[in-house]
Symmetry: C2
Subunit: 335 residues, 2 copies
């Protein structure tokens, strides 16, 4: 298994990316290709004592897509960017997957342009895995497509189902449409028409789900447009991060609570860890050929390491082929 990693992508690149990549290699044994400006990548590798002859290589890419670059412009003008070069390695079969914490719009657009779509998929989608009390849930689309049609959401359902089943290991995952009421009639035209479409497939559809159902155990895969999905994922992220300050304010009020928290510290840390995006490393862009893992811009070494590990596992399952098979066998139903 060989994973191409965007060494220049993310707020803490190349430092944290290089460190995460080396750690991933050491822990998982996956070969890693660091894609980016060679001199800077070598510098970071030297700082941590060099790198082994086998298992880690560098592929030079002279340009860097900045976070503020418009995706389409970046792809057109920066032909030798780490994003384009990294995705091309996957397209050419020289790498099994690509991991990037860089400009996610450019990674998505590049994935579409360079890797091409799986048959039956019109819109690749970002797939977030979210910890919940009854086990992880899958939210798709978490930000790739702001405007969607019902048939796109149906495709997300197929993709999310395959991901939940093969990658997370959920038997016969339950699918729900994110909406604002339980009945099919509630919501927008988009959610109503999507319900109608998904009901006529062989997917295990449980109807509409409300925001609170992300944590109620009602469904395993939640489908929505990328605007709603992105707001939801970032709301959860913000809330998880706010727990610290929230709790601290309360604890500072009482000496007894302070003493208690010292003892319970490990448990609190574990809970926050379970809510921490870095534990999942990244969110796959499903619907393109090959594997693409999009990481949080703020990714640190640990997040990169976990993303590489997840990308390797995903590529091992050949999730792209599984999705194509699933769509063609269950067929995008025309009602």
């Amino acid at each position: 298994m060989k994973i191409a990693v965007d060494a220049m992508g993310g707020d803490h690149a190349p430092r944290e990316v290089v460190r995460g990549a080396v750690q991933a290699f050491q822990e998982s044994g996956y070969s890693v290709i660091l894609v980016g400006q060679e001199s800077r990548v070598r510098e970071e590798l030297s700082a941590i004592g060099g790198f082994p002859d086998k298992g880690i290589e560098i592929v030079h890419a002279s340009e860097v897509v900045e976070m503020c670059d418009a995706p389409s412009v970046a792809l057109r003008k920066k032909k030798d960017s780490s994003i384009r070069v990294g995705l091309s390695l996957v397209a050419e079969g020289k790498a099994d997957a690509f991991v990037s914490a860089g400009n996610s719009g450019a990674v998505m657009a590049g994935g579409l342009l360079i890797l091409k779509k799986i048959p039956g998929v019109d819109r690749p989608a970002i797939t977030a895995t979210i910890p919940a009390p009854y086990g992880p849930i899958v939210l798709i689309d978490a930000g790739a497509n702001v405007d969607c049609k019902p048939e796109h959401l149906l495709q997300f359902a197929y993709m999310g189902e395959a991901y939940a089943r093969r990658f997370i290991g959920i038997t016969n995952p339950r699918i729900a449409v994110v909406s604002i009421g339980e009945e099919d009639s509630k919501g927008t035209d988009l959610t109503r028409e999507t319900c109608e479409l998904v009901r006529h497939t062989s997917l295990r559809f449980v109807g509409n789900a409300e925001g609170r159902d992300f944590f109620s155990g009602k469904a395993d895969v939640f489908i929505c447009d990328g605007f709603v999905g992105n707001v939801v994922v970032k709301t959860m992220e913000g809330m998880a991060q706010a727990l610290g300050p929230f709790l601290k304010t309360e604890i500072d009020k009482s000496l007894l609570a302070k003493a208690g928290m010292l003892l319970a510290n490990g448990a609190i840390r574990n809970m926050r860890k379970r809510l921490d995006y870095a534990e999942y490393g990244g969110a796959p862009l499903l619907g393109v050929r090959g594997g693409v893992m999009i990481c949080h811009g703020a990714s640190d070494q640990k997040a990169i390491k976990n993303a590489i590990r997840a990308a390797g596992a995903m590529a091992g399952f050949r999730l792209d082929e599984e999705i194509a098979r699933s769509i063609s066998s269950k067929g995008p139903v025309i009602v």
Copy 2:
């Protein structure tokens, strides 16, 4: 101050509603009109030892709007429902505000039909107050309007601003549009056009906000359509409720943590209390004449009590008049 309360509305009506109303009267001194089936309301009052001659009265309404009733049908067919009768009391000046934990669609539709809109407002909106580390934030619309135009979101901005300033006491509140990126260009046509509109007003506009900004202190008032707002509010609610089970799993793993949590219990409880919707009691429906407070269907005695208290305070500020003044003076700007 006199508050009409829908005695028949909510999962635990009339029992919890009646108890909450009596408690609100006892604690705040607001007069309460219990609207609903008189015999059932009297029964509940007897169960808690009757009621004082002054301060609490009953207005009979023979019909009950069920949670599953379609709002428009319910309003048309059930002319003597507690929702219609309660709202009419406000329209006739016999009550200052109406509080209901019943069918929120029917309360919204009824508010529009019976109380009428404030000049300058096309769409009344539900206004959620959310605890955040840097103080409460306001989210509008939290579920009244699934499909919105930019001018509706602009009106929400005026309404939310007046609410945050007068009711919550935030000086010169900062307004943000809920979107999926910081730059004005990010998001949907709706968010982009709304940014354009709000930038040309005298409101203190801070641009787009992402989901994580609900907790980052970036803005005080967040405007969005009612679909996104409802999903966000319910996601937060679900996550707050999930903290208990999450933490318990971790704590059960260690005896030390268990001991610690006993000591820190009060602090944890306080934190969860701060995240608990019942503390805020309800969300006002802004944009109609008079005051309307929509409560969670699962409202218990405490939630109803707090909602009545908030409704009384809101009516005291004459928030409806403040909004009308604000819109007419700052003017809905045509670009």
